[in-house]
Amino acid sequence: SQELEQSPQSLIVQEGKNLTINCTSSKTLYGLYWYKQKYGEGLIFLMMLQKGGEEKSHEKITAKLDEKKQQSSLHITASQPSHAGIYLCGATVPAGANNLFFGTGTRLTVIP
């Protein structure tokens, strides 16, 4: 069963625009991870959130985990072509699990 739903599945934006990717679960998320993947490469760790209401930023990327720990959003400000790739959210569901369940990914294209 699909534990994590990501939206949108695909996103095309003009360079300089802001965008948001969402990751939603019907269950409480533990250790919510955001990764980025480029074709032919492994997953690049972006951020990890674990507390309800937590927000982290790195450069132009901000990730939030809602108070109920069932939804996370990834926001990119002033997008650049280097942001293009597939963004994956992953989380351990249920608590105590070691492996990550992943969303289906969001393919981001940034048009120069």
């Binding site: 250790g31 991870y33 997953l43 760790f45 070691n98 492996n99 990550l100 289906t104």
Partner: protein
Amino acid sequence: GAGVSQSPSNKVTEKGKDVELRCDPISGHTALYWYRQSLGQGLEFLIYFQGNSAPDKSGLPSDRFSAERTGGSVSTLTIQRTQQEDSAVYLCASSSGGGPYNEQFFGPGTRLTVL
């Protein structure tokens, strides 16, 4: 090494053949994970190692799939009698410990194509 490495990077095999995929985790990482990424299925968990033992094999799709880890380091994922539906990118990850709050570092993956 500096990161997780996997070999081969690409593997093309004929249906019915056995294949072995190798993962070298980050030195000192006790936890090791195998995932599979295929079209339409996303990224799926296969197996988790803590040291040399595998407390969670729940993601292995059939008994044709097996994995071992030796010396608490290198792991090998073996697929016997490969089928076309086994075609996917196989990703390995390692972390300093198990549980939900230890970042998993991923390797570049092995792209397996079964003809």
